[in-house]
Symmetry: C2
């Protein structure tokens, strides 16, 4: 069973309306007189982090990727629940968790610990709870024909950082973007009142843009020459298909002037799928648009 099949099977279960059909980064539901935003991620050794990774960085990343889902909804963090394996590196994990929670000004709400299984399985989980700051809360759906497709920050740095973590040569700041991503919380809150659709870029720019297009029932166009790269990178196709950016991707109406630094990289038109170009000249889609959880 791959990820798509599993999620399709989950869609056949009794879903809360706030689950948004399991098509979004987070659940959004009314609670009392406010809107609650809830997201959950689980990470495991050899899948999301390397055995050699400092568990303090793993803790940072775990918190950051969950807060990034809140950022994509324009939500402010309320707190997190943490689950952790009790391995030898649990102490490093807690140290990193302390740094991350203090940095993001997000308190711990609770958690769970599990003894490692006989196979030494090391796994961590996080549930982040947020409060929506603007209604309606942006979703992946909602882009309209003629909207621009925008992205914050630069793309591909974390992918290059992963190569460095695996032994390649490269600047420390790329490694840092892989190890300690920054959720765009302030940017998400600033953008939420203005966008038609928003999500974070977690599995790769191209695959995530195609997901926004699909959820919105439209085609997305991206001009690769417009994709913002840091000075260290030059291979835009590698950058646009690498994961772990945690930048915000959003759809906004023509003439939009973003309240935070962001780059227009394309737009939405009637149709379906993703179309690439380079300064206007069509470019074929690469065989892999991003990272997929499969076996």
């Amino acid at each position: 069973m791959n990820e798509a099949e599993f999620i399709a099977a989950l869609r056949a279960l009794p879903l809360h309306l706030g689950a948004r059909g399991l098509l979004d980064d987070a659940a959004v539901l009314p609670f009392g007189g406010e809107s609650l935003v809830l997201t959950h991620d689980m990470i495991a050794e050899d899948v999301h982090f390397l055995g050699s990774d400092d568990r303090a960085n793993v803790a940072w990343k775990l918190v950051a990727v969950n807060l990034s889902d809140l950022a994509a909804k324009g939500a402010e963090p309320v707190g997190v629940l943490i689950g952790a394996s009790l391995t030898r590196s649990a102490r490093d994990f807690v140290t990193g968790l302390h740094v991350a929670l203090a940095h993001f000004d997000t308190p711990l709400l609770g958690g769970d610990t599990i003894a490692p299984g006989e196979n030494g399985c090391e796994v961590f989980s996080c549930t982040a709870l947020g409060r929506a700051t603007h209604l309606p809360v942006p979703s992946r759906a909602g882009a309209k024909p003629g909207d621009g497709l925008w992205v914050t920050g630069t793309i591909g740095d974390a992918g290059a950082g992963l190569a460095i973590a695996r032994g390649a040569q490269g600047p420390a700041e790329l490694l840092e973007r892989y190890l300690r991503p920054t959720p765009r919380l302030a940017e998400g809150r600033a953008l939420a009142p203005h966008v038609h659709a928003m999500m974070d870029v977690s599995d790769g720019l191209l695959i995530d843009a195609s997901r926004m297009a699909q959820a919105s029932g439209l085609a997305a166009e991206i001009d690769l020459s417009l994709v913002p790269l840091s000075p260290h990178l030059s291979d835009v196709m590698a950058a646009a298909t690498a994961g772990d950016d945690y930048e915000l991707l959003f759809a906004a109406p023509p003439g939009f002037e973003p309240p935070v630094p962001a780059t227009r990289i394309g737009g939405f038109i009637d149709g379906a799928g993703l179309r690439l170009s380079d300064k206007g000249a069509p470019v074929p889609l690469p065989p892999r648009l991003g990272y997929l959880h499969e076996r």
Copy 2:
């Protein structure tokens, strides 16, 4: 690092007031004018379930144990988030999840999937969100000197069921109590307005009673002859130190008449720790009060 050391380390982190000092079964926090109850559990092969267990039952148990934490707060379930490894048995897991969510009338809010690591690590997680039905929301603390100590249902059946799952002979209904525990949701809501303290019995009656006593700054007394056993069981010490009961344990004032079936097994007095007796005669504490997550 064992569970107690890990939780002690977490207590040094920035905690939300709703985390209740990580001393309770769930986080309780105000949200939108209501009280939100949030709990998170992670389970792994060889720790919480056996490799031979039907993953449909594992899914039931995962949901049930989280809803049991809500029950202990008198909360009504709003929905759950699920995390799951994409192993061959993922399909059975989803089937069991469907049965459990329908049975407990609790919708899915979202989730996460992870590819299994190279070591085939199989792990599942659940975050349950509930709405408190009574304020203040009961905690483990709050028992008063003179209070009775009460428990719903019968104790030790799931422990005997675990032995059956491992190959011992025994009645199917004990196996069922291990495989498919029932959270006492209606009982929890009925009790919440009346109790001074409440929690669920997950790691064993004795260890959980001692935790309630410690959180309340009191000593707990249990008369083993009063502990309710099903007709299949006779070894009360084995029953009182076995885990996975998911009955509710609560403190209530003298003369309390429970609105749901429950048994008074002892009470609280000034002091600290747990004191056992059998029809009034002192009984020494066993070396192990219940299940501890350690390595």
